[in-house]
Amino acid sequence: MTILRAEQLTKTFTIGDQAINVLEDVSLNVEPDEFLVIKGSSGSGKTTLLTLLSGLDRPTSGRVFIENQDITDMPEDTLAAFRNQDIGYVFQSFHLVPGLTAQENIMFPAEIGGDRNAREKAARLMDRVGLGHRRHNFSHQLSGGEKQRVAICRALVNEPKLIFADEPTGNLDSENGRAILDLLLQAKQESRTTLVLVTHSPEIAERADRIVTLADGRIENGGS
C-alpha cells in the first residue's frame, strides 16, 4: 500500500486579475519507508507541491491520499490532528516559534497532542542531536545549524509516519548541510519514517531512493 498518493494535482494562484498556474496535472505515489527527493529549479513548483502533499494547502483540483485517506477536503481541525500525529515538517527557514526556547519548540507538537511526557521526549531528542546544553536558549540565540537540528527534533517528537523537508540545508553551509542531511536520514532509518525532501541540490538528490523532477509545474520524470 502506498503511504502517499497524489492524483492530478493542479494549483493556481490568483494575483490581482492574473491567474498563475504553479502546478499542472501532477500525479505521484510514495511507498512506505521511501526517501523521495523532489527536484527542480527555482520556480518549478517544488515547494507548492510539498505544501499540497503535506496538507498545508489545498489543491485547485486533484486529490491527495495519505494511507488511503483522502485529505484533500478534510476539515481543518481534523487535518490539524493529522499533521500533529502523522506528519513532521522541516523548513529551509526553520520556522521555530519565536518566544519559545529550543526545548519548548520541540515539545510543542507533543503538548498539542496531549503527551504528558513531552518534556522528557524533547530532552532525549536534544541530547541525541547534541543540543542538550542549549535547551533553554531562544531561537534567535542559536546558529543556523542548531536551529535546523531543533526543527528536526520537533518534526520527530511525535514519531510521525511522514516527514516533509523543504530545502532543509538551503540556509546552511556545506558542512552543516551534510550533517543535517545525515541526521535526517539517520532518524528516518531508526524510526522507519517516509521522507519526502525538496531540493535543487544534486548532491542531496543522489542519496535518494527515488527522484521526481519538476519543471514548470509538471513532472518531467520519476512520477507514479
Binding site: L56, D57, E76, A80, S93, H95, P98, E104, F108
Partner: protein, 830 residues
C-alpha cells in the same frame, strides 16, 4: 491543554502593541467611570445635603403672593406646631449710596424668622445671622461694598428706605454657588419690606415659604396637604428630596451633554481597541501559522489568544478604573464655581460598577471580530504573504449590528427621548460617513498625484502601506479635532459678537418694573426708548385640552408650564415677519385674539384658529390664534411669545419694560438718576450681564474641551498601533534605503512627512468641518456674523500636525536606529 509559557511570551514579545491595546481599553473606561461616578457622587452629595441646600424640609414657590387657601393651610399647621414656617422674598433691585452717586443691581432677599432652618448664613463677624439682621439693617456681600465703595456701618438706599450695613455675608446655605448671579446679595429684615416700597411695583418677585417639619415621618403627608391646598397654576410645593435647585438643573444639563461626549469617546476608543487588537494579532499570525503547521487546531489558537486578550483587557479595565477614580477626584476642581465648594463628593461604587460593566461589554464587542478572524489563519502564511480574510459574512454583520444597538441604546438612555436619540445617532453616523467619504476621495487623489521629490513620493506611498490603518486614523482624528475646533470657533465668535464688540444696533440697557404712571418721567431721563407692556400669565389649555404641567416641566428646554410675559401692540416689530395669517390680527374676528411666536409652535403644534386659554393672575382669558410670527434674526432686542391687541390686555395689571441704547460712559450716571427718582425700577446693564455669560461660557467650553481631548487620544492610539503593526515593513524599507545609500536623516524625513500628511489632512478636514458647522451654528441658530479667525485657525492647523509628527516619530524610533546588517542577520532563518 494550556500553554502558560506560550501565553506569557506572546504578550512580552509584543508588549508595545499589547500596551496600546491596554491603553485603548483604559480610555474606554476613563470617561465612563469618571463621569458616571462623579455624576452619581454629586447627586448623592446633593441629596445628602439637600436639607441644607434648600434650608428647609418643604419649599413652596410662587411668582405671586400666596393664595389664601394655601396660607391658611400653612397657618393651621404652624398653629398645631407641626411645622415652623419662614416667609422669604427674593428679587432684583437697584441699591445705591446715600448720595445717589453710585448704584448697583443687587439680589435682595427678605428672610422671615427661622431662616435658615438648616445650614448657616456665615458672616465675617462670626455673629449669628438672626442676631445681626435687625429692622433698619442689611447684611451684604463683600462685592457690593467694593463696587459702591462702602463699609460696614454705612447707609445703603434700597427702594424708598435707608438701611445700615450691619455685616458681610460669606456663605449662604441655599445659594451655594454665585457663578450665575447678576448682582451681589443683600439681606433685608421682613419688617423693612413695606418701607422699601418695592414689592407691589416689582414684577419679578420670587415668593418662598420655607417649612421645617418637626416630625420627619410627617414630611410627605404635610407636603401632600399643602399641595392639595395650593393653586396648581402658580404655586409649587416640593420637599427637599423632590425639588431640583437651579444649580442641580444646570448640573444635570451639563452632565447630560458631557455624557454624550463620553459616549462619542467610548465609540472612538472601541475603534481603537479593535484596531490595536487586530494589529497585535496580525503580528502573531506567523506564530499561529507555525502552530497550525505542527497540528494546533483553531480552537487551541483561539483559546490561547482569547486568554491573552482577557488578561490584557482585565489589566486595561483595572487601570482604567483606577485612573477614572483618580479623575473623579479632580473633577470637583474642574467644575469649581458650578458646584458648592463645601459639597462632600465621594466615590460611588455602584456607578463605577455600571461604568465597568458597560466598558467591558463595549471592549468585548470590539474585540470579537479580531479574535473571530483567527480561525482563518492558514499554515501557508509562513511561506507567503496571504491577503487577510475578507471582511464580510454573518459574524461581521451581527457584530456591527450589536455595536450599533449598544450605542444607540446608550444614547437614547442618556437623552431619555427616542426621537432625539435617533437624530443624534443619525448625526454622528452621518458625520463619520461623510468624513470617511472625504478621506477616501482625498486618498484617491493622493494616489494619482505624481510627486517629483523622492521624499514626498515615499512618504505618500507610506500612507498606503498594508496595515497602515490610514483611513481609521484619519477618520478618528478628524472627528475628534472637528468637535474641539467647532467649540472653540463658536465660543470665539460669541465672545467677539457680544463681549468684545457689542452689536452697534442692540439696546445696552433694560429697565424693568416701570409703572404706567412713571413712563413719562423715565422717558424724560433716558430719551428715546420703546416701552413694552408686560402682563404675566400662564397657559391653562389649548383647544380645551388642559396643559399637563408635570409632563411639560420634564421637557428639556422651554415648556408651556412656565409663566409667560404677554404684551399688546398692533404692529410687527422690525425683526418679525408673519409665517401664517395675513395680518397680526384679524379685523373680521370677534373676541380676543393672540399672535403667537413660532417658538411656541415648536413646543406644541398650533394653527391659526386654535384657542388658547390663559390665566392672567387669576382671571381666565381665551383667545384665538390670529397669526404665527417668526423673528427674522436673533438679537438682544426684546421679543414676546404672545402678542394681543391693545384693547384685550390694556386693562390687565401690568408693568412696563424699556430697552434703549446709551453711550457706555453714560450708563452709570443714568442708572443713578433713574433709580434715585424711581427706586422700584430695575436698571440692567446688558454688557455687564453678557460678561457674566462670557465667564460661564468660557468655563463650560473648558470643561467640554477637557473631555473631548480624550477622543484625540483615541485617534493617536490608533495611529501608534498602526505604526507598530507596520514596524517590520517600515524597518525593511528603512534598511533597504540605507543599503542603497540613504542617510538616517533621509529615512527620518520620509517618516516625518508621512506623519505630517496624516496630521495635516486630519487638521484640514477637521477645520473645514468645524468652520462649516460653526458658520451654520452662528448664522442660523445664534444669528451672529461669522468670522473665521484665520490666525487661530492657523494655530489649530499646526498643533495637530506637530502632535502627530511627534507621536509618529517617537513610535518609529527603533526603526530609525536599526542597522542594516543586524536586520539582515535577523532575517536569515527565522
Amino acid at each position: 491543554m494550556l500553554h502558560p509559557a506560550f501565553i506569557r511570551r506572546q504578550v512580552v514579545r509584543s508588549r508595545k502593541q499589547a500596551t496600546v491595546f491596554v491603553l485603548c481599553v483604559v480610555l474606554s473606561m476613563i470617561t465612563l467611570i469618571a463621569l458616571n461616578g462623579f455624576a452619581t457622587s454629586v447627586h448623592q452629595a446633593l441629596m445628602n445635603d439637600a436639607r441644607r441646600l434648600q434650608a428647609g424640609d418643604i419649599i413652596i414657590r410662587s411668582h405671586y403672593a400666596f393664595t389664601p387657601g394655601l396660607q391658611a393651610a400653612v397657618n393651621r399647621l404652624a398653629a398645631d406646631t407641626r411645622i415652623s414656617a419662614a416667609r422669604l422674598y427674593e428679587f432684583y433691585s437697584i441699591v445705591r449710596t446715600r448720595g445717589e452717586d453710585r448704584s448697583l443691581l443687587a439680589m435682595l432677599k427678605v428672610t422671615g424668622r427661622g431662616y435658615p432652618f438648616y445650614g448657616q448664613v456665615v458672616l465675617t463677624s462670626g455673629n449669628r445671622f438672626d442676631q445681626v439682621l435687625q429692622p433698619g439693617t442689611v447684611i451684604v456681600e463683600a462685592g457690593l461694598l467694593e463696587r459702591l465703595a462702602l463699609s460696614v456701618g454705612d447707609t445703603l438706599r434700597v427702594g424708598d428706605a435707608d438701611l445700615t450695613i450691619a455685616d458681610v455675608v460669606t456663605l449662604e446655605p441655599d445659594r451655594p454657588v454665585t457663578f450665575f448671579s447678576f448682582g451681589p446679595r443683600v439681606f433685608i429684615h421682613p419688617e423693612d419690606l413695606d418701607g422699601l416700597g418695592l414689592i407691589d411695583r416689582t414684577a419679578r418677585v420670587h415668593h418662598k415659604l420655607l417649612l421645617k417639619v418637626h416630625d420627619p415621618a410627617q414630611l410627605e403627608p404635610i407636603a401632600g396637604t399643602l399641595s392639595a391646598a395650593a393653586d396648581q397654576e402658580q404655586e409649587r410645593v416640593a420637599t427637599f428630596q423632590s425639588t431640583n435647585s437651579r444649580m442641580q438643573r444646570f448640573f444635570n444639563n451639563l452632565l447630560f451633554f458631557l455624557n454624550l461626549i463620553g459616549i462619542f469617546t467610548l465609540l472612538l476608543a472601541g475603534i481603537g481597541t479593535q484596531s490595536a487588537l487586530s494589529a497585535f494579532l496580525k503580528e502573531k499570525s506567523y506564530t499561529m501559522a507555525i502552530a497550525k503547521t505542527v497540528g494546533a487546531t483553531s480552537r487551541f489558537i483561539t483559546a490561547h489568544y482569547l486568554i491573552i486578550v482577557m488578561i490584557l483587557g482585565l489589566a486595561g479595565t483595572l487601570l482604567g478604573t483606577a485612573i477614572g477614580m483618580g479623575l473623579q477626584r479632580l473633577l470637583p476642581a474642574l467644575f469649581s464655581g458650578f458646584l458648592p465648594a463645601s459639597l462632600d463628593v465621594r466615590l460611588s461604587w455602584p456607578a463605577m460598577l455600571e461604568g465597568l460593566l458597560l466598558g467591558g461589554v463595549v471592549v468585548a464587542l470590539f474585540a470579537f471580530l479580531p479574535l473571530y478572524r483567527l480561525k482563518h489563519v492558514r499554515p501557508t502564511v509562513i511561506f507567503r504573504k496571504e491577503s487577510p480574510p475578507g471582511r464580510g459574512g454573518l459574524p461581521y454583520i451581527l457584530t456591527a449590528l450589536a455595536i450599533a444597538a449598544i450605542f444607540i441604546g446608550l444614547i437614547i438612555w442618556q437623552l431619555r427621548d427616542v426621537r432625539l436619540g435617533l437624530y443624534f445617532v443619525g448625526a454622528i453616523i452621518g458625520f463619520l460617513i461623510l468624513t470617511a467619504l472625504v478621506v477616501q476621495i482625498v486618498l484617491l487623489l493622493f494616489r494619482k498625484i505624481r510627486f517629483r521629490r523622492l521624499i514626498l513620493r515615499q512618504a505618500i506611498k507610506g500612507l498606503f502601506r498594508p496595515g497602515n490603518s490610514t483611513r481609521p486614523i484619519l477618520i478618528t482624528l478628524t472627528a475628534a479635532l472637528a468637535v474641539i475646533f467647532c467649540i472653540y470657533l463658536v465660543e470665539a465668535n460669541l465672545d467677539r459678537a457680544y463681549v468684545q464688540s457689542y452689536p452697534a444696533d442692540a439696546p445696552n440697557i433694560f429697565l424693568i418694573d416701570i409703572q404706567k404712571e412713571q413712563v413719562n418721567g423715565v422717558a424724560a431721563l433716558i430719551g428715546e426708548a420703546t416701552f413694552y407692556p408686560i402682563v404675566r400669565a400662564r397657559i391653562r389649555a389649548i383647544n380645551n385640552v388642559a396643559v399637563n404641567r408635570t409632563a411639560e416641566r420634564r421637557r428639556r428646554g422651554d415648556n408651556l408650564a412656565r409663566e409667560f410675559n404677554l404684551t399688546y401692540r398692533h404692529h410687527l416689530l422690525s425683526d418679525e415677519r408673519l409665517l401664517e395669517g395675513d395680518a397680526l390680527f384679524r379685523p373680521d374676528w370677534d373676541g380676543p385674539q393672540v399672535s403667537v411666536l413660532d417658538t411656541v409652535v415648536r413646543m406644541r403644534k398650533m394653527e391659526v384658529g386654535d384657542v388658547l386659554r390663559f390665566n392672567i393672575q387669576g382671571v381666565p382669558l381665551s383667545a384665538r390664534v390670529a397669526s404665527i410670527r417668526t423673528r427674522t434674526k436673533e438679537s438682544i432686542k426684546p421679543f414676546f411669545y404672545f402678542v394681543f391687541p391693545e384693547q384685550v390686555l390694556a386693562p390687565a395689571p401690568q408693568t412696563l419694560f424699556a430697552a434703549t441704547r446709551v453711550p457706555r460712559e453714560q450708563i452709570s450716571q443714568l442708572q443713578n438718576q433713574v433709580v434715585a427718582r424711581f427706586p422700584n425700577i430695575s436698571f440692567i446693564d446688558i454688557t455687564e450681564t453678557v460678561t457674566v455669560f462670557s465667564k460661564v461660557m468660557h468655563k463650560l467650553s473648558t470643561i467640554i474641551r477637557f473631555f473631548t481631548f480624550f477622543s484625540i487620544i483615541a485617534g493617536l492610539l490608533i495611529m501608534i498601533s498602526a505604526i507598530f503593526a507596520t514596524r517590520a515593513t517600515r524597518m525593511q524599507e528603512a534598511v533597504y534605503f540605507k543599503i542603497l545609500g540613504a542617510t538616517r536623516g533621509f529615512v527620518g524625513r520620509v517618516f516625518a512627512f508621512e506623519n505630517m500628511f496624516i496630521g495635516a489632512l486630519s487638521a484640514i478636514l477637521a477645520l473645514g468641518a468645524a468652520h462649516g458647522a460653526g458658520y451654520l451654528i452662528c448664522s442660523r441658530i445664534l444669528d451672529i456674523a461669522y468670522r473665521p479667525f484665520i490666525g487661530d485657525s492657523f494655530i489649530m492647523l499646526l498643533l495637530p500636525i506637530a502632535l502627530v509628527i511627534a507621536v509618529g516619530m517617537g513610535a518609529s524610533r527603533t526603526v530609525l536606529k536599526k542597522k542594516p546588517v543586524s536586520y539582515l542577520r535577523g532575517q536569515e532563518g527565522r
